[in-house]
């Protein structure tokens, strides 16, 4: 892909993306945070984050912000993923493999139900 061409493409893409977003902004921001400290990375956090991005892409989910953060301080539970929906309390998940990440995306981020299997209580 030529660079100039891609920036042109980007303009079209932006217009399209903004159009799709306007309807959803009211429903509240959804945030997915992946722990990317040394332990998290060694435990597979990059693959977890990749699975989350792949899910967003394949499902066309336009109202989700993905962020990475440093060490969350729960080494034995890495990779750690946290989900924040609107003004609800933050939900922390542990040992989030790519499969677990897809399940959390589907059932919690999209469906609105906490996935008990990976949920770390009290965090």
């Amino acid at each position: 892909m030529e660079k100039i061409k891609s920036l042109e493409d980007l303009k079209k893409l932006r217009a399209e993306a903004l159009e799709k977003r306007t309807a959803k902004v009211i429903s509240g921001q959804k945030e997915v945070i992946v722990g990317m400290g040394t332990v998290g990375i060694a435990a597979g956090a990059r693959e977890t984050l990749k699975a989350i991005l792949d899910y967003i892409e394949s499902e066309g989910l336009t109202d989700i912000v993905v962020r990475q953060t440093g060490n969350i301080g729960l080494d034995s539970f890495e990779p750690i993923v946290q989900v924040v929906i609107g003004d609800q309390a933050k939900v922390t998940y542990g040992r989030v493999t790519p499969d677990a990440a897809r399940k959390i995306m589907k059932e919690h981020v999209v469906g609105g139900n906490v996935v008990k299997e990976y949920h770390i209580e009290g965090k």
Partner: protein, 182 residues
């Protein structure tokens, strides 16, 4: 960590924690001189001499003022066992430069791993940072600067599905068009 790109991600995560605004990543594969080089340069808060020593070898000092991980010592040991070297230059308030080099064909050299995913992870996961990435293979080069893209996208997050597709394709094609076989 079994891939060099995971170490790269680890070092870049340190740069993010150091509150860097600009982070430059460089990966150079020189198949003619048989070298593989990687560097991460940031403008974060930097470290004093004592801290650099501790990061490189957490067991030499008795000071326990700050927790440090084992990512860096392991990478240094890996480079040195592959006819390579490792270096950190840092100055408080200015930033940090981490460089590492391997003999590319060395039998013990870790595979580079998934470079496109690693770069994509950094860019999308920490949009507050201005990222630049240079990948060079002998005379050929792929250079990526996320600033013009962020300007074009004003108002659209990098984690928008169409943006993810665009970034993934753009970075993957750029890298793969010059990447030599492992």
């Amino acid at each position: 960590m079994r891939e060099l790109t995971l170490h790269l991600l680890d070092i870049a995560a340190n740069s993010v924690s150091a509150l860097s605004q600009n982070i430059h990543i460089e990966v150079v594969e020189d198949t003619i001189n048989d070298r593989l080089f990687m560097s991460v340069k940031d403008d974060g808060k930097g470290m004093d001499v004592e801290m650099v020593k501790k990061v490189i070898d957490p067991f030499v000092t008795s000071r326990t003022t700050r927790k440090v991980g084992l990512g860096i010592p392991l990478l240094k040991a890996a480079a040195e066992s592959c006819n390579g070297w490792f270096k950190i230059e840092s100055e408080p308030g200015k930033g940090t430069l981490v460089e590492v080099e391997f003999q590319r064909s060395h039998i013990d050299r870790m595979p580079l791993g998934d470079l496109p995913s690693t770069i994509l992870t950094m860019i999308i996961g920490t949009p507050e940072v201005h990222w630049t990435f240079r990948y060079r293979v002998n005379q050929e080069e792929f250079f990526f600067d996320d600033e013009p893209i962020k300007q074009e996208l004003e108002g659209v997050p990098l984690s928008d599905p169409m943006v993810i597709s665009f970034l993934r394709d753009y970075i993957t094609e750029g890298i793969q068009s010059i990447q030599p076989p492992e």
